[in-house]
Symmetry: C2
Amino acid sequence: MAQATLIEHPFTSPAAALPAQDTVVLRLCAAARLLLGKARNSAHLALLQTLCLPVTALWCRVLRFDPAHPDWPDRDRFVVPSATLHPLLQAMLHLSGTYAFSESPLEYGMHPGVETAPGPAGQGIAAAAGMALAEHLLAKRYGRSLVNHRTWVLARDGDLATGVAMEAAQLAGRFGLTQLAVLVSPTPGADRTEFSNSLARFSASGWSIRKVDASQLSAINGALAATLRAKKPTLIACMPPESPQTFRPQPCLSPEEELTGPWSPTARRGATAYRSWLKRLARHRLRTAFERETANTLPSLLMEDWSRLCRRAMQPTHQASTQQAAITSLHTLSALLPELTVLTATSALPRTSAAAHIQPDWPCNIQEHGMAGMLNGMSLHGGILPCGIASMITVDRMRAALRMAALMRQKIIYLLTDDGLALSHDGASWQPVEQLASLRAMPHLAVFRPANAQEAFACWKAAIRWQSGPAVIMLCPNPPEHSYAVPMQGSAARGGYILHGSATRHVTLMASGPEVSIALETEQLLLQHGVQAAVVSIPCWEVFSNQPEAYKTAILGTDVLRVGIEAASGFGWERWLGSQGFFVGMDDFGVSAPANAVYERFGITAGAICARVLKHLRTSGAIEERFLQAPSPTSRQQEREPL
Amino acid sequence: MAQATLIEHPFTSPAAALPAQDTVVLRLCAAARLLLGKARNSAHLALLQTLCLPVTALWCRVLRFDPAHPDWPDRDRFVVPSATLHPLLQAMLHLSGTYAFSESPLEYGMHPGVETAPGPAGQGIAAAAGMALAEHLLAKRYGRSLVNHRTWVLARDGDLATGVAMEAAQLAGRFGLTQLAVLVSPTPGADRTEFSNSLARFSASGWSIRKVDASQLSAINGALAATLRAKKPTLIACMPPESPQTFRPQPCLSPEEELTGPWSPTARRGATAYRSWLKRLARHRLRTAFERETANTLPSLLMEDWSRLCRRAMQPTHQASTQQAAITSLHTLSALLPELTVLTATSALPRTSAAAHIQPDWPCNIQEHGMAGMLNGMSLHGGILPCGIASMITVDRMRAALRMAALMRQKIIYLLTDDGLALSHDGASWQPVEQLASLRAMPHLAVFRPANAQEAFACWKAAIRWQSGPAVIMLCPNPPEHSYAVPMQGSAARGGYILHGSATRHVTLMASGPEVSIALETEQLLLQHGVQAAVVSIPCWEVFSNQPEAYKTAILGTDVLRVGIEAASGFGWERWLGSQGFFVGMDDFGVSAPANAVYERFGITAGAICARVLKHLRTSGAIEERFLQAPSPTSRQQEREPL
């Protein structure tokens, strides 16, 4: 009889028998359940009800969160990556703070308590691992007096079964992210075997697994306490009670005012913690640096210092490949920007002598997708400028995470190595073809493809300045074949510029990356035929598109034949070609052969391009036939002079 | 002393003490090691040497493979997805057959024994799971007398740690693919913890794990025998011996001729098995069907029968959404084409009444990437026409696998559901924006986006006819807003056609999918302003591009304003717009709002497009100002008449 009463009103009758804190949790949980009943997405009500008590306990007793300062850098992150579970976050914000519960989902950007936008399954766990890594790194720099918070994820069982979550789980285990915890409950009615298997897989990835009855507050309290002591990332599986009647909607009233809003346990604990943290911040010796980094602003003289360092570092390696130059730029930058953190999923990168004093990269081995998801979380956490290094061909695997970064406009820099046809010996599947186009199609993402060492540094600078979202820099391991002087302060910052050639011209040769040197060779060949050409390097379409029309027209030329050259798919190139232009590139996947043979196979050679241009000019009658003669040795001599 | 001799010449001195078969294996293993020493990629020699004995034992004693008929449909599949491990396959083919060992890698398409092209890590395990599923399905149809082979994968430890492999491992466990086995060895010098964790994760996914000393033939024999009896997919971890000296290169000679080529144990076993299989095939009652399916040819009257069935099934649902229509087409097709097999990663699809007699779909839940990898394997296996169903937004996750399908030109049909802005209530991340462009950029892939139920069926037919590689069909869950008559045999087979409007026109409105109905509405609005327009539906760019220039010009019109309309990124649309045209679509990610509000937000409404067209015509002076008047009620009446 007494038990029946307990089910109906868990906190009224035997309240005296419970510790005071537990009573508060139960009362707030009942209030949260009332709110959940109002949520639009009632199909998932059973799941929300199951998770309600664990989440309320977490918020009331553990979560470090001050509703009055929801953007406090040292707050606990409570990550809810699934829109299905958002009502729980809304209920907690409503009960503990000033946010008013509404039926529509709370979106990323609307409230600082929303740590991430909902995305594909598993991305939230990866992002949370990134946040925990960011916390770990900042704590190492600033000490636990300033940085000491945890990352909690409210996940769905489907999240655990995805590849990206399993990759991120491995990384979290490898990096020892003890401040990370996942709360999850099996979907009601689903097969429990799959759920148990997921738990076992997380356990095998170095996680501590705790299974609790989601209706037993004492068990939940024990699991939360154990999580605080854990030496591994923790997964708390909140199992629905055996008898579902425990979750019958309870006819209780809203809790009294003294338990909600600024008087809620969360808010009172949060306010105290926030005040004492402010005091510690005020007397911290690195306060300025901490405030600058958490505000995501750059040092004022960064660009000047960086240019100076880079000039010095690149002096001996003037003929370096774009890959070497970009890595050198990265190393010099990391000496100036301590918040720069590198995750890397590729081995055997060139190390410069200047690299001795930088922090170690975080190796992500083969787990590119998990790494990309973590980079999102590091950026969302704040105080970190994340940079990921991976082979260009693996960008397909990271795409879902990269899209989330673009969607949330996070500043993340990707260095994508091994661009170009250099890898052809290992088979066609390793040559990027459509990756460039598919990345350029993504909103807010800037895609850079530098042609030489100087441009690689200029692209780095432009990527740092790119405010709309993430940036990728495509890097080629081979040095460019032709040496040509580009001013150290080259105008890659405008996305495209005339690299060489006359303003009065018949032909504009547009190229990026390793193909710029082919364009330069073509220009010289054309000149031997009496055809004036200009070589335009377009390292970044997105930046170039943002330039004024007059600038773009001046660069691309009017009434000239425009030719695009890129060892990639020509999809999207029509934008720059005008009505008469044509594109030289790849209309198929690559082939296994030495790089030079692959260039020949696709007709991306100066000779082939020159022949196509001359044929086109003849057919269209753009210039008179008499100019288009085979060069004589003398004329070749004469025409080379002006170069 | 005797032991030292054993290490030097493992098969000479104590040969008498070993069973005869083991002697043969050891001699062939020594011969294979000699060949491996010649391989170009000597950095991985230690790994190759470790795996040499297990692989030789597998080939000599277990593998069902006839070198004289390497494309035998009932052969065991020996999948080597990593180019690093290819020398082992080459050595085995050399020793057992007629293939001559060479230093360059053996590529997919060069020899039927190469079951897959090397690709990103993990794809091979997923493909092998697909092959095992194909075998399982074919065995169910034709019985074990005709189909009874296994799939063996030679994987690297990195493969096991990838998300796609872990997703595929879950699916293999869920589907109970007992005929699947993975051989793997830890990378020499790498941390063994990660490797052990990988094994534990596979065990948690329902796999049987066997750890053997790779230098102990008896242990290897035991593991292989256990694999044949296993009731789960098996993973054999071949551990390098504790003392590395066992693998010192042995100064042995090539084995005598009587052990290699047609006299090798593999070839002799294979030839016997092949002959008796041929006899069983000859008297099998489904011989014709089996031969047709394994040759990947379609029944001769398929299209006619299918059209008839579809016409009947669609009669009551004439106003169906493209999604409903495509699923109906799928169900009718599966009644005609038993080799059609559907893996599905999305729930709650419309079921038609005709669906009762089709085979069950294979549910892949949230594991889209693993599913896509398996579809590749099912197609590579032969005898199966694989079809995958997933939500359109998840195509980013499947991209790496989809690329492998395009690279190997595999005929796989993807139905991508939930296209369009219909899902906007769940947040911006669920609205496809750049997916369409990023897929169109991929070589060999055909991307279909039908506008109504009839076009959905036409796209299905065109996808079946598409010979170059995989095809995706984008489907919208909402029925088109406007009803208009498209002939049942609509010309979607040519990729694009004039749906409505006059051949003499000022404006061509190009659209696909749900935006076609907006184009039709715009056409009517323009007509009220005295502007003649035609609506062109382009359900497939790839097919349309392959049409003769004259056809394309006739469809798109010359000297007209071309307008592209698609609720997606405009990247790549310049191809069709000409020098004056413009695109109406999305230049940003979506927003959370009802679908109509999202269309308004991006200006993809008939009113907005009409205004832009009129403004453009006025500015360019394409037609005289007097025609561009606001319609009076009378003129509207008059102009509507011709419709």
